[in-house]
């Protein structure tokens, strides 16, 4: 779950990382009073996509009236397709320097990794490798001050800057671990009047750790209703633009199924990894999500491991009986309890295939000859 900037900054404050004086507003109400004491301010739309500055999502103001006006304008607008529901109004600081600092996870090393650059304020992906310092962290000892000193040294920070940088990093790592973060990023980490201050905040927490989120962690949900339902079912679901709705179990086989649809000239409507071990109920609910997208064909590619073919077959029967499925179903069924599954489908006259080639070829053929209709 990505957090909005203002939420990330609230966490920064909790961990004693300095942020500009600011407040979040969901309407123009109160902005004039707040900015009366601040002088020049910056009004930042609270959206989750990057590059909002270039997209017009950040405005500057010199008077309280201008600030309110800028905020109201942003709150009526969209940034990269996302409606702006909140703005963060902050003091505008004089900036001496901008650095980059983040903690995330390196899957290859299986460790957290500190990423830093002396060139902040720009897209880190755009920086050449030699401008980026990466130092892995052993979770058994965490970020000790020496790791901060070594990072700072590689960034050519000295004296008091070295001490301040180390302090920010130690705290940022503590936040990273305490809140199950996938990423904590400060870009830019600015030096203003000689002090380090987090001018932006990007915090992504791990969805899998939701069951133990600290009570003060705000909830952000920017997903569509369908995506929410999928998430509640523990399903990975991404909407695409084609006409064959796809369900498979396992990210790899789902991806390969899309590849094969492509190969046969078809177009997938979605990516749906129903996961391993989904029972009848969960599979039925997943199937309902697919039906609601009104595809031309539904293709299920089930290679049963922890998933049992009979339970999947029962789900199809259940949904067919409950909703009536007018869209053609193409089912590839193999693996655990395959025979039982095939028998259940046969009883309902649903055709199943043993190889993915046959199933995909059939689905693409059906989609080519048919308009989308839904339930």
């Amino acid at each position: 779950m990505k957090l909005f900037e203002y939420m990330g900054k609230k966490l920064f404050k909790k961990f004693d990382i300095a942020v500009p004086k600011g407040e979040v507003f969901f309407s123009g109400e109160g902005i004039e009073q707040f900015t009366a004491r601040l002088g020049d301010v910056v009004v930042k739309s609270q959206v989750l996509s990057g590059g909002r500055g270039k997209a017009g999502g950040i405005k500057f103001a010199s008077t309280p009236g201008e600030a309110r006006e800028a905020a109201e304008e942003l709150l009526r607008s969209e940034v990269k397709g996302c409606p702006v529901k909140a703005v963060l109004v902050e003091e505008k600081l004089p900036i001496d320097r901008e650095l980059y600092l983040a903690v995330t996870v390196d899957g290859a090393l299986k460790r957290p990794v500190v990423i830093a650059s002396a060139d902040g304020g720009v897209d880190i992906e755009a920086l050449p490798e030699d401008k980026i310092v990466k130092i892995p962290v052993d979770v058994h000892i965490g970020v000790q001050p020496h790791l901060g000193r070594e990072t700072a040294r590689q960034l050519s920070l000295a004296g008091d800057y070295l001490k301040q940088f180390t302090d920010v990093l130690v705290k940022l790592y503590r936040l990273f671990r305490s809140y199950d973060c996938e990423l904590v990023e400060i870009n830019p980490l600015a030096i203003s009047n000689g002090k380090f201050i987090a001018v932006d905040a990007k915090v992504t927490v791990d969805d899998e750790a939701a069951f133990r989120y600290p009570a003060d962690l705000p909830a952000v949900d920017e997903r569509t209703e369908r995506e929410k339902r999928a998430h509640e079912l523990g399903i990975s679901y991404v909407e695409l633009c084609g006409d064959i709705a796809v369900m498979a179990n396992g990210a790899g086989i789902t991806m390969a199924t899309l590849d094969i649809i492509n190969h046969y000239g078809g177009t997938p409507r979605n990516f749906m990894d129903a996961g391993g071990g989904a029972g009848t109920e969960a599979t039925a609910r997943a199937l309902e999500i697919l039906l609601s997208t009104r595809p031309k064909v539904i293709l299920a590619n089930i290679f049963g491991g922890i998933t049992r073919c009979d339970e999947v077959a029962n789900a199809f029967v259940q949904v067919k009986e409950k909703l009536g499925i007018s869209v053609p179903l193409v089912i590839r069924l193999m693996g655990t309890n395959e025979k039982e599954g095939v028998r259940i489908l046969q009883r309902q006259n649903i055709e199943s295939f043993r190889t993915v080639q046959e199933a995909v070829a059939k689905a693409v053929e059906l989609a080519a000859g048919r308009e989308g209709s839904g339930i």
């Binding site: 996870v105 299986k110 991404v238 991806m255 290679f303 491991g305 922890i306």
Partner: protein
Amino acid sequence: MAVIINENTRVLVQGITGRQGSFHTKQMLDYGTRVVAGVTPGRGGQRVHGVPVYDTVAEAVSNHDINASIMFIPAAGVKDAALEAMVAGIKTVVIITEHVPLHDELDIMAYAEKTSTTIIGPNTFGIISPGRSKMGIMPNGIYKPGPVGLVARSGTLSYEIAFNLTGAGLGQSTVIGLGGDRVVGMSFTAVLPMFEEDPDTKAVVLVGEIGGSAEEEAAKFIAGMTKPVVAFIAGSSAPPGKRMGHAGAIIERGRGTFESKIEALTSAGAKVASLPWEVPDLVKGVLSRGN
């Protein structure tokens, strides 16, 4: 021989009394796996399919000579259970569970490094040395013993390929699922040297997918291998920037793309299949050339 597990592996099942634990214990026993004990806290003294159940791993290892554990444990309890196995001295741990929190995975892997434990998973189908032993949830019927070492990031995609191999008369020495999460225990670069050393393995099939740089890392090792490698990479049709499920398929800096992986593997001398069912013919090709 085979790698990591064989007919001498004595297996513990953590979470043996649960629905999945019980079901797959039966499947493993049916396959011939030597499941010698199980653990479920509070259920000590019971038996599951004849296997004695203990309250703790420490109790199980004090009663049986155990050298590997497979766990069917809800995601929130995986870290505790994995650490319990390692503290008890078990050196091979298979974690089937998906949705394990990322930081728990970091903690598990750090302790595995400290204790020199081999972790397979999380979010994996497990490992099977056909005809000898299996620790996992893969269907029993799709494998047969033979010369192909198969290592995959994704479960069901590897079933597909194993099934095709078996259908083409090509059995497997060992099949390993690395697991689909961002942080998992074994990587291609940990498995490939084992296959290179294993006398039973004559060729290796690597099943990867877009995202991360594991396949590019693997390519570096493949370049120096004496045994032939055939690869298949899923995700040729993935739109860039979209995250596809738990595979962590985020396109990164030119690496991690379908094209960069194919390029790296091809340059390293691997044969790359465009579609899953092309794998057997490519394997036959490299095996006949090798002899």
